[in-house]
């Protein structure tokens, strides 16, 4: 990618972070930590990788994305809004009683959401079903699933991995956001899932590690996913990330998994986001 393209993606990810903070601030709840750690991959998927039509959200031949870690809906919604699926201002209605922006992704109410999720482990199975369906229908459709590292505790993730490999779903790209934290603390302390790469490899995946905040590394990883077409191997992109990335006092803090910032915290966080934006634009 060119310097200009990279900078544009970085600016978009910065705006995704604004949406995450604004949404969770206005909702007085939600999950900023894991949304911020995945801001770059949401941006990359919707602005560079996926074939989607914001003006025709249910275009049958679109690529699919399932947010298996559905609690990070604020990140997904922000990316969708910025991509043109719905007004960015609506992030202010997140989780409100009269809003279509439900606390966890709802495919029936939110344009661009391909699967309702929220209960961990189920989204990746649904994504595998979509990939199997695309193969059965002989359609060139890519299916992406974004998972959290805490989510890997769920046995269903590995049932889905078995299924994907057994049916040769090389059109399925599983992306794991390994920010190292889950609700009760460090993933290695709560339930150690390491070695994640060897586990996915043992389940028949081609695995690739990336810095999840580096667009060049993401580009190379998705390139590998495309190169895996025809091999019958699904791809697992393992992203090393920082939970709460981009907001100094939220970074690497399990405490910021599932709460919204108060007015003072929102102001401080937005100050950092706007400073980062100014630096990018400067």
């Amino acid at each position: 990618m060119t310097d200009k393209e990279r900078k544009q993606l970085q600016l978009t990810a910065n705006r995704v972070r604004e949406g995450i903070l604004t949404g969770t601030y206005c909702a007085k709840s939600g999950h900023p930590g894991g949304s911020l750690s995945a801001a770059e991959v949401f941006t990359y998927l919707y602005f560079r990788e996926m074939r989607v039509r914001p003006e025709e959200p249910r275009w049958p031949d679109r690529d699919r994305m399932v947010l298996s870690k559905g609690h990070t809906a604020p990140g997904l919604y922000s990316a969708l809004a910025l991509r043109g699926f719905f007004p960015f201002e609506d992030m202010r209605t997140l989780r409100h009683i009269d809003s279509y922006l439900q606390g966890h992704p709802n495919m029936e109410t939110v344009p661009g959401v391909d699967m309702s999720t929220g209960s961990l482990g189920q989204g990746v199975s649904a994504a595998a079903g979509m990939a199997k369906g695309a193969k059965y229908l002989q359609k060139d459709i890519n299916v992406y699933a974004v998972l959290g590292d805490g989510e890997l505790d769920e046995g269903q993730v590995w049932e889905a991995a078995m299924f994907a490999s057994h049916y040769g779903l090389d059109n399925l790209c599983v992306i794991v956001d390994l920010n190292g934290l889950q609700i009760d603390g460090r993933t290695q302390d709560v339930m150690n899932t390491a070695p994640v790469d060897e586990k996915f490899a043992a389940f028949g995946f081609d695995t690739v590690w990336v810095n999840g905040h580096d667009f060049d590394e993401l580009e190379a990883a998705f390139g590998r996913f495309h190169a895996n077409k025809g091999t019958g191997k699904p791809t697992a992109i393992l992203m090393r990330t920082v939970k709460g990335k981009g907001v100094s006092f939220m970074e690497d803090q399990a405490d910021w998994h599932g709460k919204g910032p108060n007015a003072e915290e929102y102001e401080r966080a937005m100050g950092e986001i706007m400073a980062a934006r100014a630096a990018l634009e400067g």
């Binding site: 189920q122 989204g123 695309a134």
Partner: protein, 313 residues
Amino acid sequence: MSDVKKIATRDGYGAGLKALGEEAPDVVVLDADLAGTTRTAVFRKAFPDRHFNCGIAEGNMVSVAAGLATMGLVPFVSSFAMFATGRAFEQIRNSVGYPHLNVKIGASHGGVSVGEDGASHQCCEDFAVMRVIPGMAVLCPSDEVEARKMVRAAYEWNGPVYMRFGRYATPVYHDESFSVRIGKGELLQDGRDIAIIATGIMVPEAMEAGKALAAAGIGARVINMASIKPLDEEMVIRAARECGRIVTVEEHSVIGGLGEAVCSALAESCPVPVRRVGIQDEFGRSGPAAELLRFYGLTAENIAAQARDMLGR
């Protein structure tokens, strides 16, 4: 009824799937290593590329089906009732029910008539846990013909459907002209003294009870309520108004199934005494199916006795 042809409703499921598959290319079938016994193998033999075995992983199977449904396919997923609705309950609730996806669940081995395998495999809770999911249709056919035709009715129904089939061979009393209408009961015998509302393989027993009562001068109305949800409330309320007493019969816990659905409908519109014949809040046990049905009172004799007890005749 010893001279009557007996076939298990699960056989109707397999035959119905195969017939539907010939006409509907969007139908795909998923199983969890039980294709032979749920009878989806009948479909698999005809359409091997449309049958996806998911291994012994029911939760994944249901969520995979949800994904397939989002692609415009109509998946039928199968396992034993215990594992389809128990192990995969939350996947059905969140991956299928909440987004109202067009997934059909065809479960075999409902009730105690599973037989010798015992309580771990005898699901008497499936109606209850499926009924409580918003938008889920809950069906249980009373014979092989109804089971076969129910497959098409489920396909034509827009939204999630749960169908319970049995392992035990039971009398076939419908002829080929019968058609399944979701949300409608079937009046099998009229009467004004008492109404017997039954579902699944209890219907032939209820019919026999109805005849025995008639022989004793008691007019029993006998209704096949294959559609537990949506319930044919109009038919239930009319039965209450015209008969005054109701016996419900199901091979399921008296908690959460047909009996409670009938009681709920009546409590708000036309309260009358109801006797619920079913599994009385207990687990099953091993034994031959016929002996188990007798042990739990799921027989024509007990249905008639309960009716007479209610009437004091």
